[in-house]
């Protein structure tokens, strides 16, 4: 056996007093950590391949299992940490780029946790959302510059296409291929019932999702997988994906193992072939080129659909957003560097891009200064963990937010960050039929709906406390925010005052 120099990550601890040897863990673990002893009855475990997905823990009928971090100390070194040493060994073994999944796990500052919200006291009344109307309906799309009316008071403005959402929360792009059809279907069902949108990602639209096209955002990415005229028209709006927060500057990569017949049909690529999207769109090398693509999509959809441009939050984000707005985008989505992914090169995920909080504040400020803020709606993406994060994003200037990791967690994801292996025990990030059937859309759409409904309640509660009864009055209302423990420069970029000011 070749030695790989890498100790395991976790230990599976089995409480023998509780274990009834039912073998549920054996049959559920796709990493084959649990197995029967030679007697065919006693259950044993080998922790080597455990990824801490907790499938066995959660299904064990007697709660006999526990996953522990495997501690194997290295000689202390603040520079050469165990993680760097292990990654070097992994590359010495494989000779390849390190791949990771989900969002950036490094301890960079999370500005949501350094921003505090306001509430009304004495000088203005707070509002009770259970007794008074509270509006969180959100409308995306280009807004006319000014209102003109004819003599009888009727508007003479031809309204550009608008998207009405019953909540400021949408589901971000996750392609069929990277996630299972059952997972996508659960999100589509939830989006329909909640009055919001789900996003097909760059994987095309599966025929089973036809019923949900009024709630679909269809993506046009650099690989152009599954893109044709009908695809563009079977949507609520079309999104041009320039970049993704988890991997700015590079295209998507769906490993061939995940490309089965269904995925191949939706993407229009051969079975088993890697779906590698080019890093850039090869027809977009400038803002002018982007304008052409936006125009083409609007032509193909008869000017009935808003066109969104999704970019990753990078250093010059404000200027790029301004350029996209001037290129004719109706909606601009900015994806921060903590945004999730099914597979990204580790070094890029962990080191490229900037936090969504700063990018959003800078972009909103720039658009306002240039007097074109009303030309576009801003959608923030890149890790919203709770409703308070959403409220803060809206107060920083976002019109709506894209959420993906949170709904996945609601469906069973435990953030084990091995989506790229295609062995997801929860039936989410896999195409293996024996695993995808573990996700029952009838159960999961309800869980996702519950989550967003709960967040909606909380958003209303927080707004009520501020004395605000409409989400439009919260949007870009940075006076409702105060920084804590932030430098002058950070406060300046966020456009907020320090707590106590």
């Amino acid at each position: 056996m070749a030695i790989d120099y890498i100790p395991r990550s976790f230990t599976i601890v089995r409480d023998k007093e509780r274990c009834i040897d039912c073998g549920c863990c054996v049959r559920q673990c796709s990493n084959e950590c649990h197995y029967f002893a030679d007697d065919g009855k006693t259950v044993l475990a080998d922790s080597q391949n455990c990824v801490a997905c907790h499938r066995c823990v959660d299904l064990c009928p007697t709660h006999a299992l526990r996953i522990e971090k495997y501690i194997c100390d290295y000689r202390e070194n603040a520079n050469w940490t165990a993680q760097y040493q292990q990654e070097i060994c992994r590359q010495a073994d494989s000779g390849g780029t390190l791949l990771s999944a989900m969002g950036n796990p490094k301890p960079y500052p999370i500005y949501w946790d350094k921003i505090l919200l306001n509430a009304s006291q004495v000088t203005n009344p707070s509002i009770d959302p259970l007794r008074e109307p509270m509006e969180i309906r959100t409308i995306l799309g280009r807004k006319p510059e000014r209102m003109t009316v004819e003599e009888k008071g009727k508007s003479t403005i031809k309204m550009p296409p608008q998207v009405v959402l019953e909540t400021p929360i949408m589901f971000s792009a996750m392609s069929f291929g990277s996630i299972s059809l059952n997972a996508q279907k659960s999100l589509a069902m939830a989006a329909k019932n909640l009055g919001t949108l789900f996003n097909t990602g760059e994987g095309g639209l599966h025929p089973d999702l036809e019923a949900y096209t009024d709630h679909a955002i269809v993506q046009v990415a650099s690989g152009r997988f599954g893109v044709h005229k009908e695809y563009l028209n079977r949507s609520r709006y079309v999104e041009i994906k320039i970049g993704q927060g988890a991997k700015p500057g590079i295209g998507g990569h769906l490993p061939g193992e995940k490309v089965n017949v269904e995925v191949s049909n939706a993407r229009m690529i051969p079975v088993g072939s890697d779906a590698i999207s080019p890093a850039p769109h090869h027809d977009i090398y400038s803002i002018e080129d982007l304008r052409q693509l936006i125009w083409s999509i609007k032509q193909a959809t008869d000017n009935t659909k808003p066109v969104c441009v999704k970019i990753a939050a990078v250093h010059n984000v404000a200027a790029i957003v301004s350029g996209c707005a001037r290129a004719g985008a109706d909606i601009i989505a900015i994806d921060g560097f903590r945004g999730g992914t099914g597979a990204a090169p580790t070094r890029i995920r962990d080191n490229v891009g900037i936090p969504i909080e700063l990018a959003l504040a800078a972009a909103d400020q720039r658009l306002r200064e240039e007097g074109i803020r009303s030309h576009v709606s801003l959608v923030a993406a890149g890790s919203f963990r709770c409703s308070a994060d959403i409220v803060k994003a809206i107060a920083l200037g976002a019109d709506a937010c894209y959420c993906a990791s949170a709904p996945l967690i609601a469906m069973g994801c435990h953030m084990c960050r091995t989506c790229n292996t295609g062995k997801c025990n929860w039936g989410i990030a896999t195409q293996r039929p024996e695993l995808t059937k573990r996700l029952n859309p009838d159960i999961m759409h309800q869980r996702v709906e519950n989550l967003i409904t709960a967040w909606n309640h909380e958003i209303k509660e927080i707004m009520g406390g501020m004395g605000i009864n409409s989400i439009d009055s919260l949007r870009g209302n940075r006076l409702m925010l105060r920084g804590i423990g932030l430098s002058e420069k950070e406060l300046q970029i966020l456009g907020i005052k320090h707590a106590g000011e």
Partner: protein, 147 residues
């Protein structure tokens, strides 16, 4: 009548229906005691067949005209006219297993007596349905085609 229907496309092959069936038919009603310590060990009335690729939990169909009732030589196996539940009277059963031989669905488990699903008499939902993590078992009177 309300019956348990299995959806094989959702069955996880986790066998938790068996574990909780045993528990429901034990003296202690405790999952660890029932599955580990209790003697005589309670038997599961439902059985999962297949592997991870395709599996299904098989349990008694409570047939309109049950072959097991017809074949029973002691009159231990009866179908309740009111509820439609087919059950074994353990005092009458001699364990000859003729019922097992004639059941077209293989729903009789062996033991000292014939052991079979009683739909957890009186419960709102049988234990197997209640504890199925993926709703692969459905308890309904709509019939199998509607599931």
């Amino acid at each position: 009548m309300k019956k348990v229907y299995a959806k094989e496309e959702l069955c996880l092959n986790c066998h938790l229906c068996e574990v909780f069936c045993k528990t429901a038919h034990s003296l202690s009603k405790d999952v660890i005691k029932a599955n580990k310590y209790e003697q005589p060990a309670p038997a599961a009335r439902v059985k999962v067949y297949g592997d991870n690729k395709l599996s299904v939990a098989v349990n008694c169909r409570h047939c309109e005209e049950p072959k097991c009732v017809k074949a029973c030589i002691t009159g231990a196996m009866t179908k309740d006219k009111k509820t439609g539940i087919v059950s074994v009277n353990e005092e009458k059963c001699i364990g000859c297993m003729t019922c097992l031989a004639v059941c077209p669905f293989g729903c009789i488990q062996t033991g000292k007596f014939a052991v079979k699903c009683d739909l957890c008499r009186g419960e709102d939902e049988p234990a197997c349905v209640k504890n199925c993590p993926n709703r692969a078992l459905v308890y309904t009177d709509l019939g199998g085609a509607e599931v």
